[in-house]
Chain length 163, copies 2
């Protein structure tokens, strides 16, 4: 499915969500959603703010926080905390479920999939009498290929998954 269709689709989904929750369909909200779905990879509020300011959008951080909250609620965006006090976000529609491995040497984030995690969360929730909403699995690890000055191989090639 081409990118333009995904953007159209999430716009629709967001529109329905807003209607069902008696929320206003403001141009800012759709602009933010569109901007988020213009890139893959992780972002934070500040990077999104700068990105939109560069494109001459008139948008405030407050509205970004507000809108992201809505997008989290309707599952179009997911939130991560990789050990730092900085919330990271990621578009989630039509992205296959994945978890993260964080390099302890350079903080770079890698993604991986493992279907077994589904069973674990189901077992735990059943045992405690809960229904799973979502989960967050982060593996913190050291790179095996450190050069003598402590630089890991992947830190040199900065074209990997953005943090």
């Amino acid at each position: 499915m081409p990118a333009v269709d995904i953007k159209e689709k999430v716009k629709q989904l967001f529109s329905v969500y807003l209607a069902e929750n008696s929320q206003r369909k403001t141009p800012e909200r759709f602009a933010i959603l569109n901007e988020i779905y213009s890139h893959t990879g992780h972002f934070n509020v500040e990077s999104l703010y700068v990105q939109m300011k560069n494109k001459k959008y008139r948008v405030s951080r407050a509205t970004l926080y507000n809108t992201i909250e809505l997008l989290l609620d309707c599952k179009l965006v997911t939130k991560h905390q990789f050990g730092k006090n900085l919330a990271q976000f990621e578009r989630s529609y039509e992205f296959k479920q994945h978890d993260h491995l964080i390099c302890q040497d350079c903080d770079k984030v890698f993604e991986f999939c493992d279907p077994r995690i589904q069973q674990i969360q189901q077992t735990a929730a059943d045992m405690l009498g809960f229904e799973v909403e979502h989960h967050s699995l982060n593996i913190y690890a050291k790179c095996k290929s450190l050069s003598k000055n402590g630089i890991c191989e992947h830190r040199k090639n900065n074209n990997l998954i953005p943090n």
Copy 2:
């Protein structure tokens, strides 16, 4: 093993760690370790600060942050982020490995164990060429037993695992 022996043991371990890393053995550092191992459950820097102030310790937040950093490094304490921008900590010596389920209705935290998580982290690290340091698995879930006014059963009994 009685609690007093565990306190003695972690004090020893911390002492060795400090020596090996050319760090000074200050009374503050041991007082903080001792205080942390006086309770089970989660704590944050502020709660630990208040707790120690109440016991008339002369200690600063800066030293708490500094010392906790050392305790994390020597694995006597673990750190958690449960979706909020507030670091939570937990003593970890002789505590069996466990992960957390967070109630989305009341934020209470439950613990569970599942050996399968070990395999998952091993698989992921192998595939990406890393060596696991540690992991963090949080399951966010809704309580199945909500009363009509949205209060979950466990919120009434506040004697569960402290958050």
